[in-house]
C-alpha cells in the first residue's frame, strides 16, 4: 500500500468506527434480538419500504454500510498481520480486505439506487 493513501485510510477507519459505534448497537438489538424474540412487533412492510424510498434514508444506509466495511478492512488487516504474523502476505491481505469492503459498498450503492 502506497504511503500517501495511508492517512486517508485511517480517516475512513475512524469515520466507520464512529458511525458503527454510535448506530450499530441499536439497529442490531432491534432487528436481530428484540423483534425476532417477540419483545417488539416488527414494523409493517409498507412502513419500511416507504422509509427506504426517502433519499435521506438511502444516504444514511449507504453511510452506515460502506464506512463500517472500510473500518473492518483496515482493522482486520492489521489484526491479521499481528495476530497470525503473516506480514509476508501483505499484498494478498490488502486485496482481500479492501476488495471485500469495496464490493460491499458497491452492492449497497446498487441496491439503494435501484429501490422500486
Amino acid at each position: 500500500m502506497g504511503r500517501p493513501i495511508t492517512p486517508f485510510l485511517w480517516l475512513l477507519f475512524s469515520v466507520g468506527g464512529t458511525v458503527s459505534a454510535l448506530l450499530f448497537p441499536v439497529h442490531l438489538f432491534l432487528t436481530g434480538l428484540a423483534i425476532p424474540l417477540g419483545w417488539i412487533d416488527p414494523p409493517r412492510y409498507e412502513a419500511l419500504i416507504g422509509l427506504l424510498r426517502h433519499p435521506i434514508t438511502r444516504l444514511y444506509l449507504f453511510v452506515i454500510i460502506a464506512f463500517p466495511l472500510v473500518h473492518w478492512a483496515h482493522r482486520f488487516r492489521y489484526t491479521l498481520y499481528d495476530g497470525l504474523q503473516i506480514k509476508h502476505l501483505t499484498a494478498l491481505i490488502v486485496v482481500f480486505c479492501y476488495g471485500a469492503a469495496l464490493v460491499g459498498s458497491a452492492a449497497a450503492a446498487y441496491l439503494l439506487w435501484n429501490i422500486p
Binding site: A21, L22, L33, I35, R44, L51, L52, H71, W72, Y78
Partner: protein, 138 residues
C-alpha cells in the same frame, strides 16, 4: 527450517525469538486487545446483514416475511446475540479511547477527558432513541 539461530558478529538482529501464533492468549490485556480488534469482524457482518434487509425489502412483502422468519430461527438469534456483545464492546472501547485519539480545545484550554467521553455517550443515547422511534413508528 532450522531452528538454530545464526550468530554473526555485528548482526545481532539475525537472532529472532519465535513467537507463538497464540501470543495474545497468555496475557489478559493482549487478549482484550485482540478481542477489541476482532469486533470489526462483527461490525462488517452486521453491515452485510443490513444489505440483506435492504435486498429483502426490495424483493417485496413475501421476501420481507421470509426474512422475519429466518431472523427468528435459533441460529440467527444466537449469532445476533454474540454479535451484539462484540458490537457493544466496540462502542464502549471506541468512546473511551476518543479523548486519546482526538484532543478537543475550547478557548485554548484542553477539554477534560470525561467531557469528551460523556458527549460520546450522550450522542449514542440520543441517536439510539431516534433510530428506535423512526424504525418502529406505526
Amino acid at each position: 527450517m532450522s531452528l538454530g539461530a545464526h550468530y554473526t558478529p555485528y548482526h545481532p538482529k539475525w537472532y529472532r525469538r519465535r513467537v507463538s501464533v497464540w501470543w495474545w492468549l497468555q496475557t489478559w490485556s493482549y487478549t482484550r486487545f485482540v478481542l477489541r480488534e476482532l469486533t470489526s469482524v462483527f461490525v462488517a457482518l452486521f453491515a452485510v446483514v443490513l444489505l440483506w434487509h435492504i435486498w429483502a425489502l426490495e424483493l417485496g412483502p413475501e421476501a420481507y416475511a421470509r426474512l422475519l422468519v429466518r431472523l427468528g430461527t435459533p441460529l440467527f438469534v444466537v449469532l445476533h446475540g454474540v454479535a451484539f456483545v462484540f458490537v457493544l464492546f466496540h462502542s464502549i472501547t471506541w468512546f473511551n479511547l476518543a479523548p486519546k485519539a482526538m484532543v478537543v480545545r475550547l478557548r485554548g484550554k484542553r477539554m477534560p477527558d470525561w467531557v469528551v467521553v460523556g458527549s460520546n455517550y450522550a450522542a449514542w443515547l440520543v441517536l439510539s432513541l431516534a433510530v428506535a422511534v423512526i424504525l418502529l413508528r406505526r
